[in-house]
């Protein structure tokens, strides 16, 4: 959020066009407050405001924006003739607000008649109707964990781990819940590893508060594709798969992907061997592990194991 060097002209103008109406409504405000509110350095803010004050057209030379900044770092705006109202919402901005509102309204515990619903109704009235539906179903424990994260309330959970294939009893301090590609995750301090870990909420089988609380600290919630790669020591597998199975490279983060006629070669991050085993079983024998060697037979071995364990008599 804090770009190095001066911001591009476009960003500066856009920001000026939201700051001026805001200032017009108040008459005066400190540079410090505006700097925080609009995510801009005080220096840059001062430069831009002073330049705006220079603007003028005949017969209003230099008085288009009647503004000065006093010695205490407070900007004062006289009776404004221009930029009293902000620029209309662009289509992408309107869409983002609608998506945000509908997403938050689909969250556990959202009040369907509360302030957000009212804001959304007003927004929809201005932006027009649409046939846009967001499907954001969450596992039942999501609401409880979100509330625990807000209060830093420690919880005791039973968690089924796919990599170890066992249920473990853990104490977690929830930091955030997040969704990515349709799945919900919990970011929490894990007592077992003593580290921050990510848990799939649909694999949390039981959950209760312990009564203890964690200490506040800043956390970074992963965005989109990057979080899979952030997993410590994630190994890489190179797969050769039919083009028809392209969904794999769209659904899971890939480190590289190349297309060669009727097949793809993808380097993928492997969170755990069990994850890869499951993927290979799903993809079938048409997908080949190119490297590393120890996983070349993983799919075939897993298929044989499953046949023996479950379908030996067939």
């Amino acid at each position: 959020m804090s770009p190095r060097g001066p911001s591009p002209l476009k960003v500066r103008l856009r920001r000026l066009l939201v700051i001026l109406p805001w200032l017009a409504e108040r008459g005066s405000a400190s540079l410090a407050e505006m700097s925080e509110r609009f995510q801009i350095s005080e220096k840059e803010l001062m430069t831009d405001l002073l330049q705006a004050a220079m603007c003028g057209l005949p017969p209003f030379l230099d008085e288009l924006v009647d503004l000065y900044i006093d010695d205490d770092g407070v900007a004062h705006l006289g009776v404004p003739r221009f930029f009293v109202r902000p620029l209309r919402l662009t289509a992408p901005e309107g869409l983002s607000l609608l998506i945000a509102g509908r997403t938050a309204l689909a969250m556990p515990g959202a009040d369907p008649a509360g302030p957000l619903a009212r804001a959304l109704a007003k927004l929809e009235a201005v932006l027009g109707s649409d046939g846009m539906v967001l499907d954001l179903a969450q596992p039942p424990a999501t609401a409880e964990l979100a509330a625990a994260a807000a209060e830093l309330a420690e919880v005791r959970v039973d968690y089924w781990s796919a990599s170890s294939d066992e249920v473990s009893d853990r104490r977690l301090v929830p930091r955030a819940v997040f969704s990515d590609r349709g799945r919900w995750y919990l970011l929490a301090d894990d007592d077992r590893s003593g580290e921050e870990r990510t848990f799939r909420i649909d694999r949390i089988l039981g959950c209760e508060r312990t009564g203890r609380h964690g200490e506040p600290r800043a956390v970074e919630v992963p965005t989109g594709d990057d979080w899979f790669d952030d997993l410590a020591s994630a190994a890489t597998v190179t797969l050769r798969l039919p083009v028809a199975d392209r969904w794999v490279v769209e659904r899971f983060p890939v480190r590289s992907v190349g297309e060669h006629g009727d097949h793809l070669v993808a380097e993928m991050a492997v969170a755990s061997e069990s994850w890869l085993r499951e993927l290979l079983l799903r993809l079938g024998p048409a997908t080949v592990v190119v490297s590393p060697d120890e996983w070349r037979d993983l799919g075939a071995t897993s298929a044989r194991e499953l046949l023996e364990a479950r379908y030996a008599a067939d």
Partner: protein, 354 residues
Amino acid sequence: MASPLERVTNLLTLLLETRVPLTLKQIQHELTGMYPDNPVALRGAFERDKALLRDIGVPIETEVLGGDQAGETAYLIDRDRYELRGLQLDDDERHALQMAVATIRSETGQEGVWKLGGSALPTSTVVANVAQHEALPTLRGASGARTTVGFRYRGTDRELDPYGLLLREGFWYVIGHDHRHGEVRTYRVDRIEGAVTVFDGRSFERPSGFDVRAAFPADAKMLGEPEDGATSAVVAVDPPLASVVRTELGDEAVLDPASAGAAYAGAAYAGALSGARGASGAVVFRVPCANRDAFRSWVLGLGLHAEVLGPPEVRADLVSWLRSFGDATPTPSVAAATGATGATGATGATGATS
């Protein structure tokens, strides 16, 4: 010479202020000394400023003049279209919307929040990574206005009456009447190639009672043609995954072991429940399986913890899938030859699109 910010701000003000559209010559005259004198440089500088203003959403109207200025283009901004109006939020509403935008962490949404008088976004303990795509605003607009759109998809031009948009499993889909195919089709928005064209003047009626969710298969395992055979399978799932599956499918999918047993008496089912795994509290579910590929993906995701009990042909399908691993020699030529039969995937993404 004025700074670029000063010049473009002055241009914006001039075009907002004027009652009649202004030609570039008039603009240059009004903004004395701000634009270069050289006609080519002047046009270049003006075009850059105009593009910048349009880029941030300023609606600049153009008019081609007649009379003694015939052929010249003149410019103006309609103040009514420029200003944000009719959206008065109360403080609690603005705050709620700002928190909502914090949930999706959208920079574009932040711009909107500022325009509505909000501040920098706080950090949120609930975050939804919702994909944004540049085609979405256009598609939403066209869907709301009931206007036909065109786009390129998998190398073919499509014409679609966009009935609605759906976000599911992290992907955006546009659903509507496809003119070429004469039926309702679903397209993944992020796979649209290039820009979406809006065919202004070509409007459509959305069928009354059209439900976007209903038009899109709710469950990838239900995709496919029901006449293919069995539409549901019986699957035993061991603890602890049984509770995960119960959460996913709902209590109504749980079968009474006795009746399930009667249905598949004599088959492997008896063995499943009497075996060590079955005895330890396996739960039996009825699971949609019309889309056999998606069903197989789903059940394989449960690894050794699940067993397809029936119907026999569904079980046989799975067994032959597993056996095919043993048959195959993992060489590229085999991979290519069997490529077309690959799994569809549980997202429904491939299966649902055309």
